[in-house]
Subunit: 371 residues, 2 copies
């Protein structure tokens, strides 16, 4: 609620709106903290922070301290190698790169064990996908010289942490957090805890503040890992990991969630730009049935995936996003022209990205040790 009231109205604070409707319970029920009150203390907040896309956190104060004082800290997140980079994995990748540029040592995990346990993807297959994914993050600006990119299946330290942690975990805990799942998913959760705490092992310089930027759906892993960090405190001196939470971007077709089952609900960075353009042009919007009504009543950017694309990824200027929101609300802009402008931006970005990425495939193979 605070989002709107602080800033005095719906139109001025577009980024808070979705937060209020969908995310408020997270603060009261799960102990996630809103990011907004900390925003002024963050030395150089990224667009997603400024716009409320990254809306919540746990213990982020610790990361701000490190950023301000120049103390060592780490950022850790990853990708499940099940397919091409899409708008969700792009979000996480950009967050990692942001924290790396702000001074963090960056850990990027290729969660191939999770891809196997959760999606049944054999390691031989996920290896190929991983090469592609790593080329993406390199093209986006990840600096491998100040970062560590690895596959879970090849990282013995991660597996060994999972083995150590497992002794501290009851079945009741697993069921409470993840429900009744097969052993592979439980093991995968333990390995993910290993991923998150590996940056604090001696081999990587010992205990340090670590931020894990994730979608809100990943919070169970964060809670689980923070609990393990406390339990194994005496042996490792772990600092409980901090986290930030971003909202999930809306599906292009107006459905509940972007999903591989529905190709019109999302696009990937590997797709033909013409196809991407079509998906955007066909997308669901918050517009009215007719142009006349739209001009008279205004559109609804709060439910609009096109607005989300500007908000999350494709507008560099906060002022532009606010203007867009208000212009839509007031009926000053129609969905067609809004989409056309977005198509141009997205197609240019994707073409540029694909060009850069082609040059990073060999480097990606080298980093992953793939022949």
């Amino acid at each position: 609620m605070s989002g709107n009231r602080d800033t005095g109205g719906l139109i001025i604070d577009p980024f808070g709106a979705t937060l209020v409707e969908d995310y408020d319970r997270l603060f009261t029920e799960f102990g996630i903290q809103p990011l907004k009150p900390l925003l002024s203390q963050i030395p150089n907040p990224c667009a997603a922070m400024r716009r409320g896309v990254i809306f919540g956190h746990r213990d982020f104060e610790r990361i701000i301290d490190a950023m301000k004082s120049g103390k060592e800290f780490a950022v850790m997140s990853g990708i499940k190698p099940t397919g091409e980079f899409h708008l969700g994995t792009l979000m996480t990748a950009r967050e990692i790169i942001y924290f790396q540029q702000e001074g963090a040592t960056a850990f990027y995990c290729i969660a191939d064990i999770e891809a196997y346990e959760d999606n049944g993807i054999p390691f031989e297959e996920s290896e190929k996908i991983a090469v592609n994914n790593v080329a993406d993050i390199l093209a986006l600006g990840f600096d491998p010289k100040r970062g560590y990119i690895y596959r879970q299946s090849r990282e013995e330290k991660v597996k060994d942490l999972a083995i150590l942690f497992s002794r501290g975990v009851t079945l009741a805990t697993m069921k409470a957090i993840y429900g009744e799942r097969h052993m592979g998913l439980y093991l995968s959760a333990l390995i993910q805890a290993g991923d998150i705490l590996m940056p604090q092992l001696k081999d990587f310089g010992g205990p340090k503040p670590t931020v894990v930027p994730v979608g809100i759906d990943q919070d169970p892993h964060i809670r689980f890992t923070r609990d393990l960090a406390n339990r194994f405190q005496s042996k490792f001196k772990f600092i409980p990991p901090s986290s930030t939470y971003h909202k999930l971007i809306k599906a292009l077709d107006g459905s509940y969630k972007m999903s591989k089952r529905n190709p019109m609900s999302y696009f990937t960075l590997d797709e033909d730009p013409d196809t991407i353009a079509k998906k955007i042009l066909y997308a669901f919007t918050g517009g009215r049935p007719t142009a006349e009504e739209q001009r008279r009543l205004g559109g609804n950017p709060d439910i609009c995936p096109i607005f989300d694309l500007y908000l999350f990824h494709f507008s560099r200027d906060d002022k532009e996003v606010i203007d867009l929101y208000n212009d839509c609300k007031c009926g000053n802009i129609l969905c067609g022209e809004d989409k056309m402008r977005l198509v141009k931006i997205v197609v240019e970005f994707v073409k540029d990205h694909q060009r850069k990425k082609a040059q990073f495939i060999d480097k990606a193979r080298e980093i992953l040790g793939v022949k």
Copy 2:
């Protein structure tokens, strides 16, 4: 029941008696097969087989075929590095060495992950214990040139099999086999399945009959692993592992089971021979309260740990064991003299073993890669 009836009476077939009383349900309820009907087909059965100490099996026919035809086969078992070699670990070690001498490639696993998960022993500590244990098995005759000794915590192939297998295992399966345990024990069971099936990986020459000699208490692991071998059949072409089951030797003090909590219930191969002698002399027996009664009524070797020591380990001659059984039953021998003779044999064996073992400590370090 067949044991006694086949051979016509209690006195002639001492080895069958305990089997009938304690182990019969295993055949009817768990599908374990009695070894006795196969005995005549085994080219060179070891004493424990001939005496009914190894009393049951699963799919042992496959191993007999390999032994007879000279085809490749493996023996796999191990030790949980929680302490010194005792009469139980000695039993397994001798079985492995027997199969190795009969032509098997021998795999000896130091189950340090299990020692951690089940007993909370840190890896730094179990490493030292493992060096000691490996020196024991080398002194007993294990040939490292035709065998593979390894620690679970250092064997990536075993961990990777556990990760692969976990996807095929529901929580219901784990609970049915092991009860409601913590995650570490479940993970340990998956890793043990990895141990048992590792000999069939390409790196070790591919699928082959494998016999796992264990105490009957380990059968849940065997059933679990045989099930996994079938589930992952299409990928690995695993042959379901065979197993043999030995009885558990009676506790020296007449208590339910040899246990570290009660030092008088067992001895280890590292103990001072004088202490071992005392433990034997103080041991519980199947004897009568007085010598007169013993001569008149006879003793009861079936409940006697001293008889078990001859039967399991310290008599080289089957005829001698049968005579001892009958002489005890008929009151021809008293417990005191029986113990004195055993003390002499055991002390001589232990002194000789300790002398040999001292020469294998460096080799054990080398095999385990311990500095």
